[in-house]
């Protein structure tokens, strides 16, 4: 094993001298307290190490010893429902052992060593195996069957299946003879280096929507399963609320939520709320399909840097089982700042705004680990990545936002003015985009929903409204012709009745595809009828006075997903009110 002696300590970055045998990115232990570190630079006999714990009190001369392995995570049954820190230490175990504060020097194993799992074994002696072949299945939670996989790189034949009534993660489940004729014991878990992506056969095109139940997202700026999206927004624009909503409602099999350098109270909210929330499809607790990573802003900056890798490695592991995984990182800006802080402490030459020159390639390395892939010849899995970005001062030209834009295809811009007016989700329709819309339109069309034409009409109305608003700013609404004022009213209906969604209302928080369609349709229908009457010479104020006009703005919170037939009644009322008007005016 490699080793060294500490020479310089200044915060989380330390330098060791007289090192030998240490590899780049190797996990090391420092001193008697065995603080965890990672080698991030080697220069002759000097190694730069980032320490994942507080370094106060550590002095030069302290011993550094290598572990021989890169920084890795444990992958096996027992991950779901857990909360980890940035380097996969289980926070619940730490709390039991150390109390309310996190002190250093405690490294509990991520997976419980005592818990026994019943495995439903699929393989038998002499079966041929390749990486990701399913050895057996464990019912990890009532929602997730955890598939025990042949680890990457192992090809061969089953020599022996070891049958036990219950397996602990360290128990051997089968013995494989690999291509070189060597015996390899496969356990319930294996480890995988966080900075290395897990192999797969090939990438596949996107076909299915990651349905989120959020109208502005699904109908207007959708994300595909296996797609990558970013949510930029200054503080107070509702990034976290949007991320929470996605974590709650997205129709992925597994959700991995990374609180990267975020607020402690927000994490507390997630930890408290998620177990109580019900998955809208299964009715089970959300925690039965969720893994949380909590590395709040006051926890070591180095662990914040690695937290997104820890998260995405776990995501890839569940993808390899054939699941659709959605990973949310809140916030990638905090991660980039960690990168900058570490780079600054290493005295690297800064590029744009103090960020290291490799910021772009690191971001690409992260987002490119998302995707829909063929895992084995008959299995497909996906990792969708949704990264929040917090541009300082709301400036979208800053490096993290502009680099992120290069690597994502869906961009949900959170707008400060919308947030100020309490229009939530504050996703701007002028600056956001989705590169998946075309691929996903087929999914809607299979449900007989003509999403393309609906979307075009919505976007048209909203774009015209933006122009008209500029004119109104100068001359007042009264100066516009009635036809254009109607466009403003239509846009108002779309904004307040459709795009706005109340995350706090149990009825409105999640909106089914049918409900989204019916809401859109009824709003556009209203516009058409109004336009027709206007052309017949009816004054606009009469139309706006219709009780149905303000009622349409409330249908989101008033009609439940399962009461789709109420839309028929609503549509009838629209028709009736218009008919009455028409008769009144001949």
């Amino acid at each position: 094993m490699g080793e060294g002696v500490l020479y310089r300590i200044s915060g989380p970055i330390v330098v060791s001298r007289k090192t030998s045998g240490l590899k780049m990115n190797e996990e090391v232990r420092i001193g008697d307290e065995e603080l965890i570190g990672e080698v991030i630079e080697i220069n002759g006999e000097e190694a730069v190490i980032q320490v994942y714990e507080e370094t106060t009190g550590i002095s030069p001369g302290t011993r550094v010893s290598g572990t021989g392995n890169p920084i890795s995570v444990e992958l096996g049954p027992g991950l779901i429902g857990c909360t980890f820190d940035g380097i996969q230490r289980p926070l619940v175990v730490i709390r039991k052992e150390q109390g309310i504060f996190i002190k250093r020097g405690l490294n509990p194993k991520p997976l419980s060593r005592d818990r026994e799992w019943e495995v439903d074994i699929h393989l038998k002696k002499d079966d041929l195996v390749v990486p990701n072949t399913i050895i057996g299945e464990v019912e990890e939670t009532s929602l997730i069957r955890h598939r025990i996989l042949i680890p990457p790189g192992v090809y061969g034949k089953v020599l022996e299946i070891i049958e036990l009534p219950g397996y602990r993660v360290e128990d051997t489940i089968c013995i494989i003879e690999d291509k070189e004729g060597e015996r390899r014991e496969v356990k319930l878990f294996h480890t995988w280096p966080v900075r290395k992506k897990r192999p797969f056969i090939e990438r596949l095109p996107h076909e299915e929507i990651l349905f989120t139940g959020q109208r502005v997202i699904d109908s207007i700026f959708p994300l595909a399963k296996g797609g990558v999206a970013a949510i930029p927004g200054g503080f107070g624009t509702g990034k976290t609320v949007t991320q929470h909503a996605l974590a709650k409602w997205a129709d992925a099999d597994i959700i991995i939520y990374i609180g990267c350098g975020e607020r402690g109270n927000e994490m507390a909210q997630v930890l408290e709320e998620f177990p109580k929330l019900k998955d809208p499809r299964s009715g089970k607790s959300l925690m039965e399909r969720t893994i949380l990573i909590a590395n709040t802003s006051n926890m070591p900056v180095t662990a914040r840097e690695s937290s997104i890798y820890t998260g995405i490695t776990m995501a890839e592991y569940f993808r390899d089982m054939g699941y659709d995984v959605a990973l949310m990182a809140d916030s990638t800006s905090r991660w980039a700042e960690a990168l900058r802080e570490i780079s600054g402490r290493m005295e690297e030459m800064p590029a744009e705004r103090g960020y290291p020159a490799y910021l772009g390639s690191r971001l690409a390395g992260f987002y490119e680990r998302g995707g829909r892939v063929k895992v084995t010849e008959d299995r497909i899995g996906s990792v969708s990545v949704i990264g929040a970005v917090s541009p300082p001062g709301g400036d979208f030209s800053e490096p993290v936002t502009s680099h992120t834009k290069r690597f994502v295809r869906t961009f949900w811009v959170l707008d400060k003015d919308l947030a100020y007016a309490r229009h939530y989700p504050a996703i701007s329709w002028t600056n956001s985009y989705s590169g998946y819309f075309e691929e996903i339109a087929k999914w809607w069309e299979a449900k007989d929903i003509p999403i393309r034409s609906l979307r075009i009409r919505v976007m048209e109305t909203l774009t015209v409204e933006t122009h008209l608003r500029q004119i109104v700013q100068m001359v007042g609404e009264g100066a516009l012709p009635e036809k254009e004022r109607l466009t403003l009213k239509e846009a108002e209906l779309i904004r307040e009745g459709f795009l706005q969604q109340n995350a706090l209302s149990p009825v409105d928080a999640y909106c089914s595809p049918e409900k989204q369609y019916r809401m859109l349709k009824i709003i556009l229908d209203f516009g058409e009828r109004a336009r027709d009457l206007l052309e017949r010479g009816l004054p606009l104020f009469k139309i706006i006075e219709l009780p149905i006009f303000s009622e349409l703005k409330r249908m989101g919170v008033e009609i439940e997903n399962k009461e789709i037939d109420k839309f028929d009644k609503l549509a009838e009322r629209v028709e009736k009110e218009f008919e009455t008007l028409k008769e009144e005016y001949g």
Binding site: G57, A268, N298, G393, K553
Partner: protein, 458 residues
Amino acid sequence: MDSIYHKRHIGAQELTGPILIVEGVENVGFGELVLIEQGDINRLGRVLEVAGNRAVCQVFAGTSGIDREKVRIRFTGSPMTLPVSEEMIGRVFDGLGRPIDGCGEVIGEEERDVNGNPLNPDAREYPRENILTGISAIDGLTTLIRGQKLPIFSGAGLPHNEIAAQVVNQARISKEEDFIIIFAAMGIKADDADFFMRRFEEGGALSRLVTFINLADSPSVERLITPRCALTAAEYLAFDKGNHVLVIMTDLTNYCEALREVASAMGEVPSRKGYPGYLYSDLATLYERTGRVKGREGSITQIPILTMPNDDITHPIPDLTGYITEGQIVLSRELYQKGIYPPIDIMSSLSRLMKDGIGEGRTRKDHPDLYSQLYASYSRVQRVRSLASIIGEDELSEVDRNYLKFGKDFEGKFLNQDKTESRSIEETLNRGWEVLMNLPESELVRLSKEEIEEYRSK
């Protein structure tokens, strides 16, 4: 004493600003406390970096007067600690936590590392109980929650001190119980410190006050320790002794300046506006020492005050603060000039935790919708005002003129109140309804028909 201070050294290698560099030392730990002595000079410092036998120390009171050859440096082997006990209540300390009120040393029940440790996110309890301050703009629209960190973003000359003092004097947990107030002053003027003391005395808060004072003319680097002492005391009083603690820290801008001073003396690579790249992480280690803990009685609520240089909310200090704290109360120079007190700019202020602390059983049933409506309507007022400034008020539609009337009433009757006036939540909400009645019912889309009926019937 010498046995404790096992690592002694005479003479320094280099002195620059607050930095003192010693060579030829062994076994010095990163972050440990150092004592700097020379004749009658007795100063404290901290190790910022060790490399081999060279230690870079930050001297809190600066290096002025220090003789490179004669200075004696003692390494204590432990980080800076603060003796904590309930005896601290009612006492006044300097910026490093040493008593300056002439009442002698505090006998600590325990010595605590002032840097603290991060709270385990799993041990936190999500805060839900509100703190009513008697200020309409806060209680109604940016409700403060026990366990929240809600900063006041202010500008030079704006009445942030008055607002903070009013909150301290009017906030109550219940009729019987009061908050313990911890006041941490960092680089503020003696006048301002006196003002706070006077207001605390008027409000009868002195007996439940712990004060840490670093004035504008006190050593600037000492400021880096002041909030840490205050928060160490807060954690002890809240989580060990079960008190509800309200921490007022002012002025964070001075704290950040001191951080920049040290970073540049160390020759570190600067980030935005010369502040160090770790400003966010450093501020987080202060702000995050707030909250509630599962199974423990107490809570820590923070109201940090910072003055935005040039009233610029995108300046790194308010910007990074906003990303850590749960909202912000922003003061507006425009409202202040109109004579409105408190001049809180509702449009850019926000309390992220309020949604769970208001409504039925907490404040009043109509509060959430009323809040949403007031925001939406006031946001329209801004647009109407800019329109009116172009085309003139007479050209506005009737609805728009109603909005102007609403805007005026909202500022004059809802926001505006006396510096010692404490309004009940009932009164605040009723005033909200009253000013909304300037608008036709069709404009009140965030309120349900039933709510409007119910209010009308009163």
